[in-house]
Symmetry: C2
Amino acid sequence: MNDFMYHNPDKVYFGKAQIQHLPAELRQFGKNVLLVYGGGSIKKNGIYDTVLSCLVKEGFILTELSGVEPNPRHTTVNRGAAICKQADIDVVLAVGGGSTIDCAKGIAAAAETADGNVWPLVEQKIWITKALPVVAVLTNAATGSEMDAWAVISNMDTNEKIGLGGSALIPRAAFENPEYSYSLPIYQTACGSFDIFNHVLDNYYFSQDAAFDMILEFQEAVMRAVVKWAPIAMKEPQNYEARANLMWASSLALNGILDAGMMHDCACHAMEHELSAYYDITHGHGLAILTPRWLTYLLDEETAPAIHRLGTAVFGIEKAIRPMIGAKQTIEAVSDFCFQTLGLTATLSELGITDEHFAEMAKHACGGRSLSGIKTLSSADIEKIYRMCL
Amino acid sequence: MNDFMYHNPDKVYFGKAQIQHLPAELRQFGKNVLLVYGGGSIKKNGIYDTVLSCLVKEGFILTELSGVEPNPRHTTVNRGAAICKQADIDVVLAVGGGSTIDCAKGIAAAAETADGNVWPLVEQKIWITKALPVVAVLTNAATGSEMDAWAVISNMDTNEKIGLGGSALIPRAAFENPEYSYSLPIYQTACGSFDIFNHVLDNYYFSQDAAFDMILEFQEAVMRAVVKWAPIAMKEPQNYEARANLMWASSLALNGILDAGMMHDCACHAMEHELSAYYDITHGHGLAILTPRWLTYLLDEETAPAIHRLGTAVFGIEKAIRPMIGAKQTIEAVSDFCFQTLGLTATLSELGITDEHFAEMAKHACGGRSLSGIKTLSSADIEKIYRMCL
């Protein structure tokens, strides 16, 4: 087991009857709240009214920033940071999915800088230790942003989608009511579910060492939960247990518990961020297209046992077969999960993506060096994986 | 999945090269440190010197309270609280196992009361929201106190051993260096390991509902880790991976992650606290004697599937057999683990305990009402379980 530091002070209120605690959680920071949300689905499904009704009567002063994009732009973040400065905001309240929470985190960080511009922080990979407090009301099980130290911000001028991290970006409180994800479209449920799955899988292979079994088994339990509950949530959007399992899986995937003593890798995530940055596609869909190809590219005699273990633990693949055969069956099972069960289209071509930018995307993805994981991937490797996805 | 609140702001520094961060963690609270430890083993194994050398050169003013008992007494706690008041202590630093940390927590709570007496807080079950900060340097994988909100304090005048809980009792930081447990005697390693195992098992049965599988599987992973690594740590006390797995299992068992969405029960713990309160025996040993009898007492057609599931997940019992047969094999496996693998004696008689106080102990254990769990236990049930342990 490697040395590690585990610290996650986020206070999670999980379940149906928790929003009543929101005023008390916000009040400790002040009365001036910046309410951040996306395209307005929270107005249709009533969550906006629920949040407002419990805040306005408590005397909070709300300023709104709406229209956060699915891959939140640095320009939107900067707009929010300017509001924070003008309106003397005490706390940033995100109501939405991962993009909205990421945007709120970017705002919280930028608001504490002199010029209120988030992009230099992102570009220079500044670890954020000072930010306005962020509180999240989650409506989509996917990114884990409700409980992690990261935000992903996109700059569409330069085709860049980059992570911004820092201890100060962990939300001070997260409200996770599975019912708030009932109205999520099937496609978003599928994409969010695969995002969770891949957060764990990206991390899973690095430590094929019995000393890490306990944590590997946690990871397998979370992936099994996604494989089990995602199709149920897609068929029965109001199945509470399905939504609850996916929502808590989302938080567990990135709250640090599954990393303790391991390396945290993110090869697929790094490759996918380029797809979203260039083509603004839905993150989880990009991941689903990449993942089976990534596994296929990694597969050799050395990696087969690890891939086979995933199959036996998560997809019910037989144990007592040759690892290479087991690994191939596992990759088949991952493909089936992505393209049959979750119903996502299987190629980049179907999303209108060509090989035009693959070379530069591959270089970006690995920061000009390489991506770590069960195997180190150079930009040449990454370009080949992109081509396998066409 | 039930509604829950998850909040654990403890900052865990895990591994070999972490003690260097101790001064910074303490400094934020002040310079006056109360150093709490037990019978002096930390002086023999060098941990005392390590801690001192990294604090004294940083200008901390240390006051010591040593001689904390294995089941810490309220009188010792009160002695510590008096020192805190006299010496204007800023932070209580526990260096030791669970008893030492529990004592430090009691001190931290009592120091904030007018009369510095912990017992009224314990007796009246006051939830502690105000206490001096506690920092823990852990030397024994067992109680989980390094990462939970609880302390167990004993009053030997009244034969009471009772939990004191509160959000303010969660350590602000915990230093977990598996090497610090290398010199632990085999018997303590065995008892500590079973304490961890039972923390999870006490909680395991309540929710035999597929909606909780993810968390049940986490629980099974922790129990498997204990079953795997405890005998290795006993045979090879300096096996880092064994000590590391046990230490992190200790923290995971009670840091809230394994409870999320479940009920937290503690039937065996409640029954055992009476044994320790009356006879001052080692907690983990008492638990080991109780657990197989508790399972035997619970076993019927209704509970058999849950007990059988434990066996298949943790002890390799066959799945495709009748639940009642599987459950019996499971209880046999738990017995073997306690009395063969861990080498603990199997009866209360061997510890010099008779049935003299069983009736009153049973009443105390359930607070005059009953103990919850997979089956509700009355004081009459508990007395029968005690008798099975003779």
